[in-house]
Subunit: 455 residues, 2 copies
């Protein structure tokens, strides 16, 4: 069996914690593990890691790799050069499996942003689906609704036979579905044989089918090939059209963490129904969600309100309007605000940096270099850099000369000076960097080969 | 005539914009001028600046002086070494007037945190009060209520004769006062002859009266003398007891900017009744006040809510609960949080600094040194400092040796190294300072005399 984790989404409705370059599947929502880490572990209980494929966007590759860590070292990460919805992502994984093995494997597709509470029941449902899969069906997993949710898709199913799919309904329709008892929430989890999906794709979506034939799967997918893919969901491309669809009821507790309201719903609450995370000081609020990532947030008398504080943006929203956060995100994108795109902390293969302050002509970062890591040999045409070591030791090569810096020591890197920062020591290295210059851009970087010829 | 501006308050109900060390009278609430600047200008229309006395706390002296600027260059600032409410502050001003002139002057006392819209009507009311003042009365100014405010004191006045004072009433009482029509809001503005106040103080508050006799007024008041003063308001010390009280109705538009709700009330609103200041992105909020001082604040569907964003703290509060901000402030004070005390920008005689980032073992400041200014010669026992010049030129004296730094250049100041920072040039100097050390405290400073013997 193969597992496919769909991890390409942007999670715009969970802005400002979720960003275009750091989406919700990578975030810890007051939990020990991120959503993608939990999803990987759940699959890894019954699928070996080398059979687990995470499909994500090139932009998130480094972050996904870092988060899967040692447990996922042998797992596969397929990076789409451009996001094209679920049908191309699933087709890509299936192509990878075909290239890898000659068996007609069973494939379980799981979104990376679901919270599933009971792993045993989950595995039981997978087991129940197996017989349909063997009979050549694509199995979709449905959840019995317990309230009239308007944010999900619904599946109509009578006596195990799927009658049809409906997109997010309006309030009245959702109420009707809840009454009628043969409607289920669409979990976004699917299971099928490789041969079944290939057949159904060929029949109902020949466009994807023929494109995928020409793509050679590797960890980086060529942009020119993949960009031709239609932007289409697997529901629309196959599920709503195919005659070979079965549904199995998913018994385990299941939550789509798609909005701040749903994050609120799954969080433990105090006696006034509040969820407070971080440095929050409250007087008499009720049924509210307040998340502070760094600053003090003081709240008085709020009701059914969501406040999310991050380094560079604050959201204040009525709890029943959290679906509309997506529109704020889209507006910011249109305005090229940047606040929807990056968090101030950016993860790199060698560690991470956080932009802690910006102003006219300068930028200050806290740079964290993991043990044994180093940054590329580089120079900048428009800025000077000044580094002060906070903890650990830094080896700096500046214009060919080595400098070893201990905490409290600093070094100036002039404009155009060739330099590299290394941490060959036993302890993580933290430095403060001040960039100074009229043009401060991540693009102002000239990279050089190191002595081993690597860039 | 003398004018006295009471400018010692802390404005805790306007936290987090107002801080213990940067209180509301110093703040621009989306206006060109701060409250103390507007108050000074209003008095200066009919009182020469050398007859205007600002009574403030030692902590705010530098800020008040800076804000009064050129127009207030000849005006008097009396700095209380400890805050003791309005009676000692007024007594202090009167003592200063007695020491300065032999005439029995008329004194107009005005709080620094009132918004008065119509200066002509204000001056007319002052004029109307003059006859009572001449007859030996202390005149208090009352405002006809137009709604049942519970946050103000009330004056009962029938046929120009004051019947009594009431502290902040409950809702029901405030409603009754509004109906009965002989109740007025107490504006906190007073007018009297020096001789009248001295007489009434001697009669009703001999404690202040005898203490004030021994205090020699200068710009710095001795702590030992002033600390003996009772912490008592002028209303309680004199107004509520004296038989010589008259009331004049203040005709001009008048607002006590004592809470975020009142700031909201006086601000121009959009068609949905919202007030947005700074970088705010809203969807469908109503009757709300959103103030962003730096970060993006995105709001969705809020109603009657106040959001105030500052560098280090965020307030989110139901509009009718803004009186309770004071309790948040008091809690922070008890917790020694620090967030109630300083803003991250601190003004000094030589310029200002802003704490732009703090972390374990380090602190980063942007330091702005005005043209021709310098900081004291100093050293630190527990931290090293690293300075990078952003703009202007810096003269640094480090262990007796001069260093001239232009933009982009830096210098390390070791632990215990004796150093001073100077800007003897024609342009303001901006540097980034990184402090590094296990103990980072403003108190870790040893000051030395400079070559002229000044500390």
């Amino acid at each position: 069996m193969f597992g496919v984790i769909l991890a390409g989404g942007s999670g715009s409705r969970l802005w400002p914690l979720s960003r275009e370059l750091y989406p919700k599947q990578l975030i810890n929502f007051n939990t020990e593990k991120s959503l993608i880490q939990s999803t990987f572990e759940r699959l890894n209980k019954f699928i070996p890691s080398e059979n687990i494929i995470s499909v994500t966007n090139t932009k998130h590759h480094a972050n996904v790799k870092m988060q899967l860590g040692q447990a996922g070292e042998n797992s596969i990460i397929l990076s789409e050069p451009v996001s094209k919805n679920t049908a191309p992502a699933i087709a890509l994984s299936v192509k990878y499996i075909i290239e890898t093995t000659e068996d007609d494997e069973t494939v379980l597709v799981v979104p990376s942003d679901l919270l599933i509470e009971n792993d045993e029941k989950f595995i039981q449902s997978i087991h129940d689906a197996q017989k349909y899969v063997e009979d050549g069906y694509i199995v979709t997993f449905g959840i019995k609704p317990n309230y009239p949710e308007t944010g999900f898709g619904y599946i109509r199913c009578i006596d195990g036979k799927v009658q049809g799919f409906t997109e997010k309904p309006d309030n009245q329709t959702a109420e009707k579905y809840l009454q009628e008892k043969d409607y289920y929430w669409n979990s976004g989890i699917f299971m099928f044989k490789v041969s079944t999906l290939i057949e159904e794709l060929e029949h109902y979506c020949p466009e994807i089918s023929s494109l995928i034939r020409n793509i050679k799967c590797s960890e980086s997918i060529p942009f020119n090939e993949f960009d031709k893919m239609p932007n289409i969901s697997i529901d629309y491309a196959v599920m709503e059209k195919s005659q070979k669809i079965a549904m199995v009821e998913l018994q385990s507790d299941w939550k789509d963490l798609g909005s701040w309201q749903s994050i609120y719903e799954v969080s433990p609450k105090d006696e006034n129904g509040n969820v407070f995370v971080g440095h929050v000081l409250d007087k008499s609020s009720k049924n509210s969600f307040v998340y502070s990532s760094s600053k003090l947030v003081a709240t008085i008398g709020l009701e059914d309100t969501v406040i999310v504080e991050t380094e560079d943006a604050i959201l204040a929203c009525k709890k029943d309007k959290t679906q509309e956060v997506k529109q704020i995100y889209e507006t910011l994108k249109e305005q090229q605000d940047g606040t929807q795109m990056v968090h101030k902390t950016v993860y790199r293969p060698w560690g991470f940096y956080t932009v802690i302050a910006e102003g006219k002509g300068f930028q200050t970062k806290l740079i964290h270099v993991n043990v044994g890591q180093k940054l590329s040999v580089q120079s900048h045409n428009h800025r000077s850099e000044h580094w002060v070591v906070l903890s650990g030791m830094a080896k700096v090569v500046l214009e060919g000369k080595d400098h070893i810096l201990s905490p409290g020591h600093s070094i100036d890197i002039g404009v155009k000076a060739i330099h590299s920062l290394q941490n060959p020591y036993e302890q993580d290295l933290e430095i403060i960097e001040i960039q100074k210059g009229d043009i401060l851009s991540e693009d102002d970087i000239v990279r050089y080969e190191d002595i081993y010829g690597r860039v």
